[in-house]
């Protein structure tokens, strides 16, 4: 059953990634294929997650590979909010190849299996993992938006003759979305950290906890810089930094779980 759901999701995400690349070369022609690839892939992966949840004894995504699977779904879900609009297809070019790659990695590493599972009864840990992963996904999408914003800024500064050729969201829209995504992610991360803090006396302080705290500080700094200090570009650059922190945390998760 897992095979029946993973492969459609992988193929659809892969197809979307190629279609987004085609859409950049020839705007408008491949956009619909890309959007349908994202939608079909997301539906297949949603079905996969439901199947995993129903067939596992407990929370099936507490392993590194499992969390990667859930993380990919959360990223694509966040992207889907804007992904259907033609102007956000450039963001899809950044998100969908990553989603296809990470889902493939999760599949190879066994993250799409039922899993031994953490007991559902360990509510605090389940909530902690789910919310932190959701926040990571939010910061990932915010990083993609910030990259697009910095690219848009650079294009506007360089003033090429073909400046209007690539259909991208406006600078102001990207700024607003980056900041609101960071704000939502920060709230989610805070909500995810609180149950983690409750477990801190027994689990102790490790690199992942410190990394998560750094990510929280980065998120808060982004909001301060943008909202209070009016430093739009620096805030966008820091949002890219937050994406870097998420990647490091995912790798840290891999290291600790493999170890």
């Amino acid at each position: 059953m897992v095979e029946l759901l993973v492969w459609p999701a992988l193929l659809a995400y892969g197809e979307a990634a190629f279609a987004y690349a085609g859409d950049v070369r020839s705007p408008g022609r491949f956009g619909r294929f890309a959007t349908w690839g994202v939608r079909v892939g997301w539906l297949a992966q949603t079905a996969l997650l439901i199947f995993q949840a129903l067939s596992a004894d407990g929370f099936p995504w507490n392993s590194w590979a499992g969390s990667l699977n859930l993380f990919v779904w959360l990223v694509v879900s966040a992207y889907l909010i804007w992904g259907c609009s033609p102007r956000f297809r450039l963001l899809g070019l950044a998100v969908m190849p990553l989603a296809a790659l990470l889902l493939a990695l999760s599949y190879v590493a066994g993250g799409t299996e039922g899993g031994s599972g953490l007991a559902w009864s360990d509510v605090l840990l389940v909530v902690h993992i789910a919310l932190v992963l959701a926040a990571f996904a939010g910061f990932t999408v915010a990083g993609g938006l910030a990259a697009l914003e910095l690219w848009q800024e650079r294009v506007l500064k360089r003033r090429p003759a073909g400046i209007l050729r690539l259909r991208a969201p406006s600078l102001v829209a990207l700024d607003r979305l980056t900041i609101s995504t960071v704000a939502v992610s920060l709230v989610t991360l805070t909500a995810g950290i609180i149950p983690g803090l409750a477990r801190l006396p027994e689990s102790g302080l490790d690199v992942l906890v410190v990394g998560t705290a750094v990510l929280w500080i980065l998120g808060a700094a982004i909001l301060y810089l943008r909202v209070r200090a009016g430093r739009r570009e620096l805030a966008a650059a820091l949002a890219l930094g937050a994406l870097g922190a998420v990647i490091v945390l995912q790798l840290g998760l891999l290291a600790t779980h493999v170890a």
């Binding site: 705007p27 500064k157 003033r159 003759a161 209007l164 050729r165 406006s170 600078l171 009016g230 739009r232």
Partner: protein
């Protein structure tokens, strides 16, 4: 009913001829009413074309009437007007209108105004089933060409390029404050484009205060002297400058002083003046984006090249839609033949039932109904294939339905 187009456009006629046969909206409606007596008519008149779309049983007569009307309208002898006129019939006329609605027959490929003009002409026309279908299909084709290609997306003038760049920075321009420096024609045109996209012209600054007041009063803005520009920089989102001053109007330092108060809001500066009004060093400042006249002209040049490329794709869409309309026209031609075939079959059925009625006298009402239904079904099934053949066959060269008897059977 057959479709006919009689018209003239920038491709055939110089402006001296086009302006004489041009119609205003009331004139379009009145001419459509006159030509539509006993048929259907729509008059499409823009600065580039005057075209009369007619649906008539006799296209020769309708074409003559249309030519006479145009000659009378322009007070041009018919012989002098005819070299500037084109006549297209049936699917050729339809495909022409589809190209017009898609902006492919315009001076600037993909220009957006024509779609509205086609819609207005349709609404003012004397339309029946044929022209109603034709114009609705044309509007859909125009919409499809614009949504599936980028033909109409990019600007074709410096003023519209300025507005498109503002949208690239701010997205929706609603509520964005516009400061115009200089009250000349160029700045006025750019301001009009920006205001049409939702920007609010708040201040016009000019050396001659009266000129500033005149422009400001058109947009309910306030007029200011030129030396007040710096104080406006922290509020305005878009600055359009087009004075004839020899010296710089806004320096890098002035913008730099204004930026902190903007709290990260981008400032777009459009310098349309030669010599330039705005210090090029403003480009070095974060959060400000400066475009001069050369930048905007380069965007327009690129746009026109891009539009020509997109036009090839739009032509493919128009050709496909033209084909669809041709099929529909073909099926329309088959309607009288189909109706006659049905009538004949029905009269045979009724005749045979009438002949058999003495033998069916003992049947109950229900049984009689069953026989009626059964014979109808047999006739319908027998007719199905010939009718499909008639629809597929379409019209011949002469416009008459072609479908030899022999071909009607399987």
């Amino acid at each position: 009913m057959r479709l006919l187009l009689v018209g003239t456009s920038h491709r055939l006629a110089p402006v001296e001829v086009r302006e004489r046969v041009a119609l205003d909206s009331d004139g379009e409606a009145a001419l459509a009413r006159r030509l539509g007596e006993g048929g259907e008519a729509v008059c499409l008149s823009t600065c580039n074309r005057t075209e009369l779309y007619l649906a008539a049983a006799d296209t020769e007569v309708a074409g003559e009437r249309a030519t006479v009307e145009l000659a009378d309208l322009g007070r041009i002898p018919r012989g002098e007007l005819e070299p500037y006129l084109y006549r297209l019939e049936q699917d050729a006329a339809a495909t022409h209108l589809f190209r017009v609605a898609a902006g492919l027959d315009s001076l600037v490929p993909g220009e957006g105004e024509i779609q509205g003009q086609v819609r207005a002409a349709y609404e003012r026309g004397a339309v029946g089933p044929l022209l109603d279908r034709l114009f609705r299909h044309a509007l859909q084709t125009g919409k499809r060409a614009r949504s599936e290609t980028a033909i109409g997306e990019r600007p074709a003038s410096v003023a519209s390029a300025a507005a498109a760049l503002a949208a690239q920075v701010f997205g929706d321009l609603s509520g964005r404050e516009l400061l115009v420096v200089g009250a000349g024609k160029v700045g006025q045109l750019a301001a009009k484009h920006l205001v049409s996209r939702g920007a609010a012209l708040t201040v016009v600054a000019n050396r001659t205060f009266d000129h500033a007041s005149a422009l400001a009063s058109q947009f309910e803005a306030s007029a200011q002297p030129l030396d007040s520009v710096e104080s406006q920089l922290s509020e305005a989102d878009i600055v359009v400058s087009s004075t004839s001053a020899r010296e710089q109007i806004v320096s890098r330092e002035q913008v730099e002083r204004a930026l902190p108060a903007r709290k990260g809001r981008p400032l777009l500066l459009l310098d349309l003046a030669v010599p330039r009004d705005l210090d090029p060093a403003i480009r070095e400042l974060h959060g400000s984006f400066l475009f001069d006249i050369d930048d905007l002209q380069a965007v327009v040049e690129e746009t026109l090249t891009g539009r020509r490329g997109e036009a090839v794709r739009a032509e493919e869409i128009v050709a496909a839609e033209g084909e669809r309309f041709r099929d529909w026209l073909g099926s329309l031609d088959a309607v009288p033949a189909i109706a006659s075939l049905r009538d004949r079959a029905e009269s045979i059925r009724r005749g045979e039932l009438a002949k058999a009625s003495p033998r069916l006298a003992g049947l109950s009402e229900r049984e009689r109904h069953a026989v009626e239904s059964l014979t109808s079904q047999i006739v319908n099934k027998l007719l199905h294939q010939p009718i499909m053949r008639l629809k597929e066959a379409g019209p011949g060269e002469d416009g008459e339905q072609r479908a030899p008897e022999g071909r009607l059977q399987g």
